[in-house]
Amino acid sequence: MNIVYTDNNATTKVAPEVVEEMMPYFADLYGNPSSMHSFGGNVGKKLQEARERVADLINASPVEIVFTSCGTESDNAAIMAALELNPEKKHIITSVVEHPAVKNLCSYLEKKGYELTCVPVDREGRLDTELLYDTIEKKADQIAIISLMWANNETGVIFPVEKIAKKAAEKGILFHTDAVQAIGKIPVDVQSSPVDMLSLSGHKIHAPKGIAALYVKKGIKFAPFLKGGHQEKGRRGGTENTASIIGLGKASELAKKHLNEMDTRIRGLRDYLETGLLAKIPASSVNGERNNRLPNTLSIGFDAVEGESILLLMDQTGICASSGSACTSGSLDPSHVLMAMKVPFESAHGTIRFSLSTYNTKEEMDHIIATMPPIIKRLRDMSPFWKK
């Protein structure tokens, strides 16, 4: 059975070019980049090249890139550094639709005594910037950090990071953005959107799992999350994951090259898939602001059916996607993102997320468009909530 992989917001295929770039650094060029000998030192030089490539993707300086082990570590490192360096400030601003890496850390900190403002979103997933700016005005001197995602993993809705960054800078408040989903899908430029810290993750852009980075703007004070050796200029202890860092560097170079294709061909495929499904399946609806989304993401709800059942029937045909339903998340409620957007239960439980990459083809979209209607019909035929 051919696999049609449309779950790229979950993880991506490691690009063959990335694998090729990494291979020598496992068994042959295994030196420690911190060593005095040139066998190790040469690996250090290759790491520098990777750092330049990652920096180039987001228009930063290489010295501003700190390599970490995953997006979650980057998010934790950013927020904890802000709290450690501003012990007198006890207020944190985030949103109701953040990834668990930020959401659950902030809930934990709230229990530890921090005051938390979770900015709500509307029915389209748009951030309530009025409430955000109002809180910034009123509590500027108490806010340790604002942490908001650049784009949402489930709906693809993009937050106005540029405006928020400028507003935060005016007030002298640290601003961190989880850009894990935005990177490689839309242009991310830390010069035009002057954020203080930014998280990105390798496995969302065709690098391996277990490698990520945190951008820390020059001049920002930083306290390491992993305290240890002098690596990463004292900003992250631990021997560098050399092969994976080199892989992330190559993947960043490729991601920059593919931005235009994302915006054109992949956006076209996503729209083609969306139009096809909406036309062929009655009582289906798109979640999230349609003209302000990542070009690769489609969150679509099918009324009166349940996500796990849909995914398992799709699995029978080789199509990989995700759902916003309770049964697949480990919780019993549908996704916190869809609930925060007040998507009705009727379609939230039956929401499927398709997320594309540059490896997807039109033939695959045609296969999905042909496969989905009978699956939804089959489940609706047995649903007590489906009104024919």
Binding site: A304, V305, E306, G307, E308, S309, L312, L313, D315, Q316, S325, A326, C327, G330, S331, L332, D333, P334, F345, E346, H349, D381, M382, S383, P384, F385
Partner: protein
């Protein structure tokens, strides 16, 4: 990922007795859209109080569909007296076991069956007895106590797996723990 055994998969992919029954003389409904699963059970009961036909309509995950399908197979031909004694464990056992966190699907089957029989006998189904503990899924203290006793549950997490209580906002988890502890203390 699929974590269902072959029998559960089979009942999900090839469900038995699906669909509305026009000439049913007993119907039991349980669950809701907001809960994420619901079952409507149709029965045809003859004059000697035997279930001669059964069918279902289900909204929910694979194990909800499989549990409903299994339930209809089990009860066809059963007397009402025997059917009233059927438990969620019988349904799960028939399927060769369900993942722990999906046991509530078998509970849903038991609940729909009992409601159908009560409606046939003309017993009015009153509002759930007891006081609501879990607001998210509308579960009362008496239901939790009964489920804990019937299935020898040991923790609040077990209760969530069986009747969903505590699996939404989580505010009632402490209360559920207290109930479980009091039942265990009695035993």
């Amino acid at each position: 990922m699929w974590e269902y055994n072959e029998k559960v998969k089979d009942h999900f992919l090839n469900p038995r007795n699906v669909g509305e029954m026009k000439d049913a003389n007993a119907i039991g409904e349980t669950g809701s859209l907001s809960c994420g699963d619901a079952l409507k059970l149709f029965l045809k009961i003859n004059k000697t109080n035997r279930i001669v036909d059964a069918s279902f309509m289900t909204f929910g995950c694979a194990s909800a569909v499989a549990s409903s399908s299994a339930l209809t197979e089990i009860i066809k031909g059963m007397t009402l007296e025997d059917a009233e004694k059927l438990t969620n464990d019988d349904i799960a056992d028939y399927l060769g076991g369900l993942p722990k966190e999906k046991m509530h699907c078998s509970v849903m089957g038991q609940d729909a069956l009992r409601k159908a029989i009560r409606s046939y006998k003309g017993i009015e189904i009153l509002a759930k007895p007891g006081n609501t503990v879990c607001e998210c899924f509308g579960v009362t203290d008496l239901e939790i106590i009964e489920t804990v006793k019937q299935n020898n549950l040991k923790s609040a997490e077990d209760v969530t797996f069986y009747v969903k209580a505590g699996g939404g906002c989580g505010k009632c988890v402490e209360k559920i723990e207290e109930i479980v502890e009091s039942v265990l203390a009695e035993a």
